[in-house]
């Protein structure tokens, strides 16, 4: 396996990595306090942000909507962003096809 380098990105999934980078940027300072994990699923120009939380409050919803709004701003009108709330849940993350986790809280903080 040849890993990407600065000179040669090899087979790195550029689009998906770009979306992840933008999603991380969109989350800065906005992650809802009860969220245990945030994942991103991309299918072409369709992006889904997955929020997993032990409980889900109105403030959490507002913060999640702010993240979606920020991500929409960063990605522009060609990309459609949606959110999916998984709450209440006990496990932080679960393996799921096509889902990339971009944030997971420490297990001893919640």
């Amino acid at each position: 396996m040849k890993l990407p380098s600065q000179q040669d990105l090899a087979d790195a999934p550029l689009w998906e990595n770009y979306l992840v980078a933008q999603a991380v940027q969109a989350c800065l300072g906005l992650i809802p306090v009860h969220v245990m994990a945030i994942g991103m699923r991309a299918s072409g120009a369709q992006v889904e942000l997955v929020f997993r939380a032990a409980i889900w409050t109105a403030q959490d919803q507002e913060d999640a909507e702010d993240i979606v709004s920020e991500l929409e701003a960063l990605l522009g009108p060609e990309v459609s962003v949606h959110q999916k709330i998984e709450a209440p849940v006990s496990a932080r993350v679960l393996a799921s096809p096509g889902l990339r986790w971009i944030f997971a809280a420490r297990s001893d903080t919640r």
Partner: protein, 202 residues
Amino acid sequence: MGTADGLYNVPVTIAAIADATELAPGGVEPLLELRGWLQQHGGADTSSSDYQESVLGGTVIAALLSCRVPVGKLRLGGPNTSLAPAVPRFITTAQGVTIDRAAISRLVSLQKQGRHVLSAREYNGGSYVKSVEDAQRVLDDFHSGAAQVLGMKGNDIVVRTPNVTGINVNPGAGYPRQPTSVFFIKGTRSPSVVPYNPNWTP
């Protein structure tokens, strides 16, 4: 809330005047006189009791009482008056989405706006304006009609105003610090203003 010139152009309702009489510290006579003036000049909508317009009415009345402006010389705008062009309350975008200007609060949320003000404690690295006053100016321009409504981004209203320059921050797309006069207005009851891609099209 703006200058006296700005106040002259806000719609004032009979209901607003009625509400303001309970708040006005200077007595009701000037208010009743103003109400009569509005009725005579067709600048009042007796059917509306919208809260925001009531607040506006109170502001106008407060300005009248403090400045002692002769009522007969006022140029208050209103739904039916020909004295000043009214800003349309509803805007329908090219995509068929209708925006109700009155549904958007006239004051930015200080807490939420802080996320997009460079010097604020809440700033977290995204797009920003120089000050809360700049953000408020964008919102003022939206309400006064000075800003052009470009369309909707999800649930957010996108506007362009010539009066404020913000910075669009999108390093992932190659724009770490891009001046822009395009903004989106996020939220209704507690809105905030965020600089946006200057080349955005709906």
